[in-house]
Amino acid sequence: MEVLKEKVEEEEAAEREAEAEQAARRAAEKEREDSILSQEELLDLEQKLSEIEVHIPEIPVAFTKSTIDTSTLPESYRTNTPKEELLIQVADNFSRQYAHLCPDREPLFLHPLNECNIPKFVSTTVRPTLMPYPELYNWDSCAEFVSDFLTMVPLPSAIQLPEYLFSPTSVLKYQKGNCFDFSVLLCAMLIGAGYDAYCVSGYASQEMCLMDLTREMCPLLKKPKKVVEEKEKVIPKKYAIKPARDLRSKFELAQQAKKENELKAAEEKKQKEEKEKILEANKPPPDPMHGLRIHAWVLILSGKREVPESFFIDPFTARSYKTQDEHFLGIESIWNHKNYWVNMQDCWNGCKDLTFDLGDPLRWEFLLFGTEKPYLSLMEEEEEEDLAEDDDIENLDKEDENKNFDMPCSWVEPIYISPKDFETRSPQGKKVIQYKQAKLEKWTPYLNSNGLVCRLTIYEDVDCLKPVEVREWYKNREDTLEMRQMDKISNWTTEYFKPGHFLALRVHTYKTMIPETERTMEFYHQARVDGLVKRTETPRSMTEYYEGRADFLTYRHIDYGPRSKKFSLSTAETNPRPMLKITERFNRNPEKMADDDVAERIFVVSDERIQLRYHCRDDYITVSTREFLKRNEVDNKGNKIIMTPEMCISYEVEPREHTKKLLFQYEMMMDLKNEERLSKHQVWESEMEERQAQEEHMRQVEADLDYLAPFLVQLPPGEKLTRWQALRLKDECLNDFKQRLIDKANLIQSRFEKETQELQKKQQWYQENQVTMTIEDEDAYLTYCSQAMFRIRILEQRLNRHKELAPHKYLALEEKLYRDPRLIEYLKVFV
């Protein structure tokens, strides 16, 4: 859309520039002169455009049975097979006995109605399916997909089992579901992938049931645990020298240490108290329905797929929890596609004491006998007890005449997720999660034209009003930008790039993109010819760090002076900042002697001075230095002085003979002058590169122009929009765009006419003078004709194409406006 609009603008600008005046005049004239045909066409366009109305799909707030279209569902959804009927009878029977034996327990979740109002046994709703996507082979990615793909709908009643349990087919179709829908879908996928997974019906904490993560730290903000490095004890060596004698008073030292300790202790105590206070303040208010809230989740037992330990998965958040986690307050029953088990263990302590030995009939009462038991690790004593209570089970079983009654096949169609849905993941490709003092937004790759896939906003306060920091993750960008971090307080922006940026940029920290302001750029130095690692800039200086260069340069610092003022319009390129000083540092070159190996080189440009500092020899503490003065080119007699001893002041650690020679010094000075020129050139290159980077950045930014900006400017800044304003804004924007489209059509039309008229004139002229014409003139006429025809045809094509595309463009803008984050809340309510 933006690209299209940009094109429109470009074309228009070009055209307008050429004949802005003419077009205006002609447009006025044309209204009178225009043939009926073109008028009609324009009217047609106008009409067409005004006729356009955007249909916004309705968003049903609740996900209920009535919203589901059951007509397309297959037969198995609408009827029960005899076997299923039998199963439901068995289940009813089981339920009755259960109610009799355990009168104080809640009823079981056995056969809720499906979307076609048919009771279906829960186990048959689980249809294990192996997904064709390799990404969905592991439990974590599977759970993440389910949590992303579906939108959570709370249970109709927080403390009652739902009446309905829809098939995964409908759930996937409408991308909505409650905790049971989530669990059944996830369970089916996990069993399909080979996990020993079960749906669990039970009780959980409020946050878990409502998918409320506002008390949780965002996982992206969690810091990795620091590995404490164990310090190796240094054993004093045999001949280690004894430290110099300490002549301070030990008593005074002890007193001081004591005082410091006291201060420290006081401070620690204070901090501790503060921490406790904060913790206290952040505690959630007690939940009146604690322990009664119904929730469904997934249990994965150890054994299959190399799962070492049983654990829970919360399908809403895709997080795994230990089975002892305090969020889970109790389990009523669990089921998979083969069987149904009722928990007979006491849940007074949440799920902490539960064992998941499903083969133990004392703890887990099964519904169907004969299906394979996952565990048979009965101990001897338990077996005896088992016999004692065997009656109950027998009672249950006696009714169940068919002892080897198998679970009937699932009535649900295999789970199918189209590749497009799989790629898009969340409904409309966007998902928002609210964490404690943080908001996480996720988008499908390629949904945003700037490659944005994830945005994390961190707030200062609990109410999420003052953003502190925004982090944005990008994917598939041309400039390989991976992450952008914006500090809203200090206004620093940090960008992280993957390898592949055209300048091998790695990290870029800046306040604004304006050249010659404060910034830090880090690079992938292996990818750069000059081995640049880092460049730091301030308005008056530039510092560069290098690594792995053949000339051992590691550091270069340039101090700039203020720009000289010129009368002419000077840009940064024509009037560079004057360099005052260039400081360069070098690593040790092992091939040279320390006294010949320059460690630091300072070109004081303003003073015409060059300072050299050499590397330190291994067993020395002072370093050789040398200073060249380039002044005094002429002595008092007017003779040119080439070199005098005063022009080079040097200090040498170990005086050597040849360095005292004037010739040596002179040659060195000449070399240094050359080097200075080279360094200046390199600095200039760096500046150019900087500019290039900024241009590139501008180009990237330009790509996402703000179409609302000109209209937003008209409104008083800083105030919140009213609904009326938002509507007007939208209308204005659309009207403007409509006008633009019409203008453009007019423009093309007028040009078309002009060309046609000219051609007609020419033709007329030709027919009149045909007899007296030379061959050259005729040729010229013919070429003119073919060119004019070509132009006319192109104009015609453009007009047609414009007519065709204009409505689409209009529609696209309208939809975009509806989706615009600044307007969405007002427009949504309205529609």
Partner: protein, 525 residues
């Protein structure tokens, strides 16, 4: 030797010629003026060109020690000579001369480019030391044996070779032969050797080259083996127990002993000798092992001492560097203020403050140094004590009962036995009961008792002497090592101290003069 211009007097390389050449070929323009003003030292000259000078003999070049490039082409030189001191020479051009044999190049180990084009050389040799040779030109000479090319195989860096114009080039196989035998060569007669020629050559001389290589490898292996043995022996020598890990000492006991050889003919003596030998060798082996162990211990001791010493020095250096660095900051600040101020009064006070600062730096650095000297002295004394103790223990143990003394005991015991046997034999011979055949000179021994006893005694004396000598050797060597090590440590420390003190003084002097100069300059302004 007769040339067309033979009538011209041969030139001699003398001071004048050299000076002229150096000046002409020295720096030009502005730099030349500076150079002229100052004069050029021969020993700084990097390159020298002495062509078309009609020089007969290379001479008087010994001053040019840093010479890298020397051109002596187009002269009438007959003998390569007088180049011994030019060890830094990389490029030597002796083309168009009258040289007949290659010689006098042994010291030029850095030579990379050698041109002997157009001379009268018949054989390539005497260049073994030119290991870095890359470009070698010996065209237009009189080399007539193709096999002489094999000599060039030893130059692993040789890439370009010019042989054109030699009699061997007339050989049809010349090109193939050279490419095959010098596989690393890239250019022959200034032309790139193409892959085709190389293939042909390889195919043709495959077998002979294989043989050659095999031979070369064998020689190489042998050389390595020898080196390994020498290294092993060096190690033993360092432990002062060389030749004690076998029957060497025992054999040396008998090597000069004529009497013992004669006595060995007596019945029972060979057996006796055999047991004696096993025991003796066993003891020697013990000494050897012990020596090695002790050597390791000493080494470890020295290593740990040097490690600690190094640490202490580094620590001290770090402190010193920090002092200097800190001072540097203050000093620069001072200089800047002085430079920027106009008030003479103010400058004066700043000056004196700065001078004070300098003397303070001197004090601090000297304190650091003195501290270190004290600390090191203690440590070094400690080390000295320990190492002397160690050597003492070693010597004692070698001399003591389980080792050298044991050898002596064994020898005494053997001597008694031998004497007994000898006397018995003598008695038997006297009684004419001895029925075995003995060589005449042996029988002559047994003419009377004194002779026998003397012979046996002499043998015994020789043996004891040898053992004593070996022992003395060991002890003197160890002790001298001990004193040498300790002395070295002391001397090093002394040198270090002097060097550091000198450095500090020099630095402080420099600072002081700098400051004074500044003063002077300011006054001038």
């Amino acid at each position: 030797m007769i040339r067309l211009y033979d009538t011209i007097e041969p030139n001699v390389i003398d001071e004048e010629l050299l000076k002229l050449a150096v000046e002409e070929q020295g720096p030009q323009e502005a730099a030349g003026q500076v150079a002229k003003q100052e004069g050029i030292n021969f020993k700084d000259v990097k390159s020298l060109q002495l062509d078309f000078q009609n020089i007969l003999r290379i001479d008087n070049l010994w001053q040019f020690v840093s010479l890298r490039k020397l051109q002596l082409d187009n002269n009438i030189i007959e003998k390569i000579d007088g180049l011994e001191s030019l060890v830094n020479l990389v490029w030597l051009d002796l083309s168009f001369n009258n040289i007949e044999t290659i010689e006098g190049l042994d010291t030029l180990v850095n030579l990379e480019d050698l041109s002997l084009f157009s001379n009268r050389i018949a054989k390539m040799d005497a260049m073994d030391s030119l290991v870095k040779l890359q470009v070698f030109s010996i065209g237009n000479n009189m080399i007539d044996n193709l096999l002489n090319v094999i000599y060039l195989r030893r130059f692993t860096y040789l890439r370009s070779l010019n042989l054109a114009g030699n009699p061997i080039c007339d050989d049809e196989e010349y090109k193939l032969f050279v490419t095959a035998y010098l596989p690393d060569l890239v250019y022959l007669d200034f032309r790139l050797i193409d892959a085709h020629t190389r293939e042909l050559g390889d195919a043709k001389y495959q077998y002979s080259i294989y043989e050659l290589k095999h031979r070369e490898n064998q020689i190489q292996a042998k050389l390595e083996e020898e080196q390994a043995t020498i290294a092993e022996l060096e190690k033993h020598k360092a432990a002062y127990v060389e030749y004690l890990n076998g029957p060497f000492l025992f054999d040396s006991l008998y090597s000069e002993d004529v009497e013992a050889a004669k006595l060995a003919y007596l019945p029972g003596v060979p057996e006796l000798l055999e047991t004696y030998k096993t025991k003796f060798v066993e003891i020697c082996q013990n000494i050897f092992d012990y020596g090695l162990v002790q050597q390791e211990k000493r080494k470890a001791e020295v290593a740990i001492f040097y490690e600690c010493l190094e640490e202490a020095l580094q620590e001290n250096r770090k402190q010193g560097l920090k002092e200097v660095e800190d001072f540097d900051k203050i000093y620069t600040a001072y200089l800047n203020t002085i430079r920027n101020s106009n008030d003479i009064q103010f400058v004066d006070t700043k000056m004196s403050e700065c001078a004070e600062e300098i003397s303070r730096l001197f004090d601090r650095l000297m304190t650091l140094e003195m501290q270190l000297v004290e600390q090191l002295e203690e440590t070094i004394n400690n080390f000295e004590r320990n190492i002397i103790d160690m050597v003492g223990v070693f010597v004692e143990n070698v001399q003591g009962f389980p080792t050298m003394a044991q050898c002596r005991d064994l020898e005494n015991h053997h001597h008694e036995k031998l004497l007994e046997i000898s006397i018995n034999t003598l008695e038997k011979i006297v009684k004419s009961e001895f029925d075995e055949d003995l060589p005449d000179d042996v029988r002559a021994l047994f003419s009377d008792k004194d002779t026998v006893v003397n012979a046996v005694g002499a043998s015994h004396d020789i043996h004891l002497l040898k053992i004593d000598n070996r022992e003395d050797d060991l002890i003197t060597n160890v002790t001298s090592w001990c004193t040498a090590t300790v002395d070295k440590v002391h001397n090093d420390e002394l040198d270090r101290n002097r060097k550091r003190v000198k450095e500090i003084n020099q630095y402080v002097d420099h600072l002081q003069t700098d400051l004074d100069n500044m003063d002077f300059g300011d006054l001038l302004d």
